[in-house]
Amino acid sequence: MTPYHVVPEDLHDWVRGVSGSIASVSVEQHVASCRDCQADVATLVASTRAEAVLDLTDVWSRVRDEIELAPASPVERLLSRLGLPPSDAALVAAAPSLRVPWLTALCSALLFVAAAAVSQSRVGTSLFLLVAPLVPTFAVAMAYGPEASGSLEQESAVPYPLARLVLLRTAAVLLASVPVVAVVGLLLPGRLSWLWLLPAIGFTATVLGLSVWIPPVRAAVWITLVWVVAVSSASRMSTAMTVLDGRYLVLYCLLLIAGPTTLVLGSRHFGTIGRIPL
């Protein structure tokens, strides 16, 4: 330690920001290396009028809050980098369908479908057509249904526009699940490789719309039943590709428009989403 210390008046002036620049340079250089003077500064700051110095207690509580929070997950960091505010990113990333185990299960299931689709063309095509649109549908239903986790109940207890959360999460989940299916779809010939997207987003939208009245996972189950019946009867009559005829495609587009509209209007009107009070 240095044998010399800053004279009290100079230290006092420096803390209040009224010392000259040369004096403050020497004070700063000394204080940075002297424990005793650092302690003197702390005492001075604590005893100086509030408007002249920072509220260090406040800053400390902010520091503590931030370091006690769990560090942001990779998904959260990615979403923040894409321009989503941190609070939104945290809520979106909490969706169960964005978790690694879920995505792993999804990928392995699709691998089987892909194997079938590549080896046996007719059955494989039907299988792909059956499964592909349901993957995003369930992904979205799992993203915010009360069955999926208790997290939405906590989230709905805080003042946050729930319809916004649901739509944001839907977008994120679609971004995560659709490309996986799309890669498998590329292995298939013709229109099927991309046309499955229309029923997929149509059903997703329907889940959103129905979630005003019933839990989203149940909505997804109902859609699955209808879809299985439609695809299997179509393949029995002629070919499974019938469900991708022009008139049905219009139906999917209508669903796509109706679903989110119902969600936004319905959540305002009924005050519920998936029977959770807003």
Binding site: S21, S24, R64
Partner: protein, 184 residues
């Protein structure tokens, strides 16, 4: 002071084990002087509070990376001043380096001599007082705060080339003043 008082290095190594009490001690010891020193670089109270918060959060997260042999206070200041610079990049805050005129009637000179008599400067302080405020600001940002010319340019809100020119001139003037002082 008792023997139980941990020094900064010990506090930092405790931080990497998640010791919140050590964190608080470190904060109480260093936040006051860091806050005053930052306030002299930026007159926006909110910005300084944010920078101080960021600094200690960064310390918490990177305590393990601190090399045991260095000076903790200097390390902390290095983090803080860089946080301030990057904060100014994202938001153009009004920054002034306070330049209160020296008051010759005060005891400043005596105190300064006391301080400078130590290992810190020698005659540097007196030589610095002969520089223009602009050159002094550049010298302070680069030599004393340890910033690169690029960072100093951002902090002072002037082009990087200007920083280089002023720094070059300031050093030349300092050499001359110090040489003169050596002769007298």
């Amino acid at each position: 002071m008792t023997a139980q008082v941990r020094d900064d290095g010990q506090l930092l190594s405790a931080l990497s084990d998640g010791d919140m009490a050590a964190m608080q001690t470190l904060y109480e010891r260093h936040a006051p002087w860091l806050s005053v020193r930052l306030t002299r670089r930026c007159n926006d109270r909110e910005v300084v509070a944010d920078v101080l918060q960021d600094t200690f959060v960064a310390v918490w997260r990177s305590a393990a990376r601190f090399r045991g042999d260095g000076d903790v206070a200097a390390w902390l200041w290095g983090i803080a001043i860089r946080r301030l610079v990057s904060r100014l990049r994202s938001r153009r805050a009004v920054v002034v380096l306070s330049d209160v005129p020296e008051d010759p009637s005060r005891s400043t000179l005596a105190a300064e001599e006391q301080v400078l008599l130590g290992i810190e400067y020698g005659d540097l302080g007196r030589a610095m007082s002969r520089l223009s405020p602009e050159m002094r600001a550049v010298l302070q940002a680069t030599v004393l705060d340890g910033l690169t010319t690029k960072e100093a340019a951002r902090l002072l809100g002037i082009p990087q080339n200007t920083v280089k020119t002023r720094l070059h001139r300031a050093k030349a003037q300092l050499r001359i003043s110090l040489a003169e002082e050596g002769r007298t």
